[in-house]
Assembly symmetry: C2
Homo-oligomer: 397 residues x 2
């Protein structure tokens, strides 16, 4: 009987995996996964970019690279991020094995067992798992349609001035789909001013906006660069190229970078050179820009199809966010509803989604459900949503 | 000033990085890196394998995969490992982001701060860093030309019956280059029998043998499958395809697998699908077997060139291992010699290597040096070794 460490003794497999197995069945329409549509990947373009490289660069794709990333990708990625107004020269950029690794490295850099960490409720499950595996004491703060609830946040900061950091996903939140308002970001900055609490700003979805007029709201806090607050900005190629490349990044102050690079040295030595070369060429060729434009439009089409289908088939008491970008619709059902009951019926009907408590730091609140529209055609959406609506009606009346 | 966790507060950058920067200078001959030669990578073969895939498989290369690995790679890799006699059906296989991630996941699964962990001295620096970043109390046991010193190991086990695991690299050890004898493996098993101490058996280099008659010595402990000892077997595509793919694996008992998979879920979600597809096709095409045969011969040529050059130019008091495979020659200088002094002079002469204390769990013993022959032509070796020999003579007389 192996004697496991305290940190992992309590880790239990989540229900997500069983759900994903189910979701891969051909007779099931899945709104569960947060993955891009397979049909959208720039397969041929990327293959041709690689084919046209000289042998020296191709060989480098097979070789170890520096822990912090291939120099050529760091340069092109800095250019990509600078266009968003990010302070790439006053901070250090670390390429990571997906942005989840960035979050995980930051978790290890900051969290000792029992340390309080403030998160949104609901919250990205990957971040929750990472913080839990470092034995954080999670403090969930509610979100509304404008962002994190400031009064509740301020109260939490007063009660736990030694919180190790605040983790937020302000741009097309996973799972809540919301986009922070400019005002809410200002209030957030005010609430943190003078406190010694860094922000982890997860911007995995920001490029996938549907409305160019949202540009102001999409400006990262890291770009606003408020005085006196350490901001660790994380991002990913997963939604703008492909998650199978496992490439993300963090843009962080020097001191935090140094710790995270050291941790990464013994976590996986470096991120895959092969896919770093592909991502670098995708940026340098300029193909990334029309590609992002293309997927934006496609996801907007899918989001619109899902909203239309929901309006047609859902009872009046079901509410959801207005999807202005990203992958997700977050449905709220009457207080006391158990969406696990709805899921069971939906599976019988041939459709799946993720129940709300999955994203609750405390694993309780379950009158919510996450529906992803990213991986389905409008036809599938029109077929699958009524199945879920029927299940809702059977449970809620 | 960020408040870092206790685990990372003490982490300091090693000198290895500066050395690697130096090693990349065109005017320096580097025997420092443990990386395959760029000229040896099967670039065109792998590119053609990908080109011939159908679109569905190419798209899957861009998509998330299961945390434990793509099903097709798990199947082909099981076949590859079964040929080594490994018990692939009674254990679980987990694809990892390089074998360093396998070691790192196991470290997190087992180590609480202060836990004793037994390692070889010298020891692979990546493993040392990983164990240190989990705050292990490292117990280094000397190795000789046959393997780990059994008396010393037995004494350590008596003193610390609660050691969390024993980490060994029996097949072309990094850095000591040694291959365990069959007898030593038997003694090791006896020493651990009846104890509750799992073994992490790192087999990153075992395929790179120069003498087919060593087959018996190369049989993994995991394949011998001794009763009552949990063996966590780790391996890598880094030396038999390319480290830039960042793919390794662990073959471990079910219970350990479950913990490691959970940890990996929040470490990087899954390993890169793109490179998993490439590795899978490399195995399935059968190209991996002649490729391994080719690199074996090439590394043997390089090893022979280095041994010949050492014999020609090193003073009598310098000793080294007989390289029967792998990447490394481990030089032992007279007691009390500081190889850092030698390195400084060698750099002036235009050649670099890694000083011995880098691999000492206690960071002290420094009358040793690691020379890699994996990444240099015989001509470079013949030019670089005399530079190092001169430096040795200047320091040791």
């Amino acid at each position: 009987m192996p004697r496991f460490s305290k940190a992992v003794s309590s880790l239990r497999s989540s229900e997500i995996r069983d759900l994903m197995t189910l979701a891969s069945r051909p007779d099931i329409i899945s709104f569960a996964g947060g993955m891009p549509g397979n049909d959208l990947f720039p397969v041929s373009e990327v293959e041709e970019l690689f084919r046209n490289l000289d042998m020296r660069k191709k060989q480098a794709a097979f070789q170890y690279g520096p822990t912090h990333g291939l120099p050529s990708l760091l340069e092109s990625l800095r250019g990509f991020l600078e266009k968003k107004g990010l302070p790439v020269h006053d901070n250090r950029l670390l390429v990571t094995t997906g942005s989840l690794q960035a979050i995980s490295l930051l978790a290890k850099a900051f969290i000792d067992p029992g340390d309080p960490v403030i998160v949104e409720n609901p919250c990205f499950i990957g971040a929750l798992s990472s913080f839990k595996s470092h034995e954080a004491d999670l403090r969930g703060i509610a979100v509304d349609s404008e962002g994190i609830a400031i009064d509740e946040l301020s109260g939490e900061i007063r009660r736990t001035p030694h919180a190790k950091f605040l983790y937020i996903t302000p741009y097309f939140h996973n799972p809540a789909g919301l986009l922070y308002s400019g005002e809410r970001k200002e209030s957030l900055v005010s609430a943190l001013q003078g406190r010694d609490i860094p922000i982890i700003e997860d911007d995995a979805y920001g490029d996938l906006y549907f409305h160019p007029e949202d540009a102001g709201r999409l400006k990262p806090l890291k770009a606003i660069n408020p005085e006196g607050i350490d901001i660790c900005y994380t991002g990913s190629f997963s939604k703008i190229l492909g998650p199978g490349l496992r490439l993300g990044w963090m843009l962080v102050p020097e001191e935090i970078y140094c710790k995270c690079e050291l941790i990464k040295q013994s976590a996986d030595a470096c991120s895959p050179s092969y896919t770093q070369v592909l991502a670098d060429e995708f940026i340098r060729s300029g193909l990334i820009y029309p590609y992002i434009e293309k997927v934006r439009q496609e996801y907007q089409t899918r989001a619109n199809a899902m909203v239309a289908a929901l309006k047609r088939s859902m009872p009046d008491y079901v509410r959801w966010n207005d999807p202005r970008g990203g992958f997700y619709l977050w449905l709220t059902l009457p207080e006391g509803t158990d969406s696990t009951e709805i899921l069971k019926l939906a599976i019988e009907g041939g459709a799946v989604f993720v129940v709300g408590k999955t994203f609750d730091p405390a694993g309780r609140s379950n009158n919510t459900m996450r529906l992803s529209y990213c991986n389905n055609s409008p036809a599938e959406i029109e077929e699958g949503i009524p199945v879920i609506a029927e299940a809702v009606k059977m449970v809620c009346g």
